[in-house]
Symmetry: C2
Subunit: 356 residues, 2 copies
């Protein structure tokens, strides 16, 4: 608290990201990072970069990156918005579209940053309960709203919706913006990008942090109608002309270009996820079917907080949320084969699992 | 305009940055970039960087960078805030401190992004006129306010205030935040950083884009009391947890470390500025005394717009503002010796200057 702060700042509850430990020898399965390094083309882009150019401002419009995303997704360049990670893209989205007289609809369990943005921009949120099995029921969103946002697959549950259900929502809900946050879509779900030409109120947000192994460079993007993209550009150009530095732009272009590497590494993660699911089930865990690079699991007998602490003692970090409804679950990122084996081996040493 | 936009977005007038031409063979004196490449240590930091780490999120707190800035400026690490360029730092500053019942005071001629932030966040601005000689008169700021912001040296005039005048303002104005935007301070003005321990309402904002030749990497920072920095962190952590990518953090640390290079290159720019001033005066220009890496000049007989167009035809870009009061001035960035010679030689070929 400070007399110097704007009044609304006093009541902000900032988002708390997963821990980024500085030591090594830690198996880090807590922030959904990709276990594979970025494409070799990213390394090449960095090493070939003429660093003398860093004295200049980057392209404020990131035109080359937009073009590369537009080609990749078969849309026009003016249907692409880029930002400093999908978090910045989301922040501008809330500012541009969701400050409306009616409340914003979102699942009661989802990416917890959504509520933080609402708080920051004074947006009223209405939380729609998930089903008991953690499914999002889009039929429940047929009500007056100032916008709709959900993650597909959802976080931290990992559950995905079909494109048919999303299109049915878009057919009903034509007057406010519908945002599909697809941070994890590349691990087995269907993207809604192919619907943007049909529904001018649809905005799809993705990131290069997960499936492109580029969390360290902070690049996210949105794809939608030119009209929605223009709204985002207006906010961005009223906030920071140059959110993506030269190396972020160059590495993102390289990562998008190397599609073979992307397909191969995401497939390996999917394979490792299914192996991890089987192993966890054999140790007494209940698993939510995941289309992401993490599994969301609860043990039949042992509390999640206890298991998180046990893994942590053994230098393995997983994420646990204290929020009621999900506080008996662990969110475990899919790491390398060796990391997942180590995590499973560690759980097997837990006294209550040994005795099962 | 779009029915999908939040109402306030319809009336935004975004900031327009100086042109970033994509061709080469252009002498670019329009966006106050440093003519020298970044320190060789920056190059080394990039080439030694383990790119495999880019799969991980960066340190959300940029602790190593904050520490390096804290040591450099002899303050505590909790007195340092970092952001994606000083534009992002400024945006968060307006959000954190300036949404107040009283208007924000600022010079009527200054960095034009200030008005854009006011528009974005619904802040009322009160513009205090400069003197005819473009001096900021801080005595005029002794009035009810919800905050005060000015650039020192001011942009685009280049004029600097003394530290005594700034401290006199701080002695009078203790209840609202005073922001000194020191983007250009390293080219001959006095920083107010040494006053932050004495005045808890003082926030000093600087950038690595100008004097550290790092515009391409987008790193800015603020130094102030722990209480003001906490306000900024609350906004930042409600907006984007990771605004600085790994390479931005690494290159910024390298740039701060190489103080000898910084001192040498800024001194060369100052020398070149004084040479440019003399040359321009000999061609019939009136010069505002500049403590920045640009000169703000008007010709005694020839209109600024005409001269800008003439230089542009000859592949030399300088900045011209259409705003009344300064629309007969050119803002000319100090480039290399060869670039400044080329710019002066070009002006000498203007028909109306030949005939003088």
């Amino acid at each position: 608290m400070s007399k110097y702060w704007s009044e609304a700042i006093q009541s902000l509850t900032p988002y708390v990201p997963g821990e980024q430990p500085k030591g090594s020898n830690i198996i880090k399965l807590n922030t959904n990072e990709n276990p594979f390094p970025p494409s070799p083309m990213v390394l090449e882009a960095i090493h070939q970069f003429d660093t003398d150019r860093l004295r200049l401002y980057p392209d404020p419009d990131a035109s080359a990156l937009k073009l590369s995303l537009a080609e990749h997704f078969n849309v026009k360049a003016n249907q692409v918005f880029v930002g400093n990670g999908s978090d910045e893209v989301l922040a501008h989205t809330f500012m541009a579209f969701f400050r409306q007289p009616q409340p914003l609809l979102m699942p009661d369990i989802s990416y917890s940053f959504y509520d933080v943005y609402c708080n920051l921009y004074g947006i009223e949120a209405k939380h729609i309960p998930l089903q008991d099995n953690f499914c999002i029921v889009l039929d429940d969103y047929a009500q007056a709203n100032g916008g709709i946002i959900f993650a597909n697959p959802n976080a931290p549950t990992g559950r995905a919706l079909t494109l048919e259900k999303i299109e049915a929502l878009l057919q009903r809900n034509t007057e406010t913006v519908v945002v599909v946050d697809e941070a994890y879509v590349d691990f087995g779900a269907q993207t809604a990008i192919n619907l943007v030409d049909k529904y001018p109120n649809l905005l799809v947000i993705q990131t290069l942090s997960k499936s492109r192994s580029l969390a360290g460079m902070r690049v996210g993007f949105a794809i939608g109608s030119a009209e929605l993209i223009e709204g985002l550009e207006r906010v961005k150009n009223s906030f920071n002309s140059y959110p993506l530095d030269m190396l972020a732009q160059a590495t993102a272009i390289a990562a998008i270009k190397d599609n073979d590497y992307f397909v191969e590494t995401t497939q390996q993660i999917i394979t490792m996820r299914e192996w991890t699911n089987q192993q966890l089930q054999s140790l007494g865990f209940k698993i939510i079917p995941s289309k992401t690079n993490f599994v969301f699991a609860s043990h039949r007998y042992i509390e999640a907080a206890e298991l998180m602490g046990f893994l942590r003692t053994n230098q393995i970090l997983v994420r646990h949320f204290s929020r009621p409804g999900i506080n008996n679950h662990l969110r475990i990122t899919i790491g390398t084969e060796a990391e997942m084996q180590a995590m499973i081996d560690c759980l097997k040493r837990h006294p209550d699992i040994i005795s099962l």
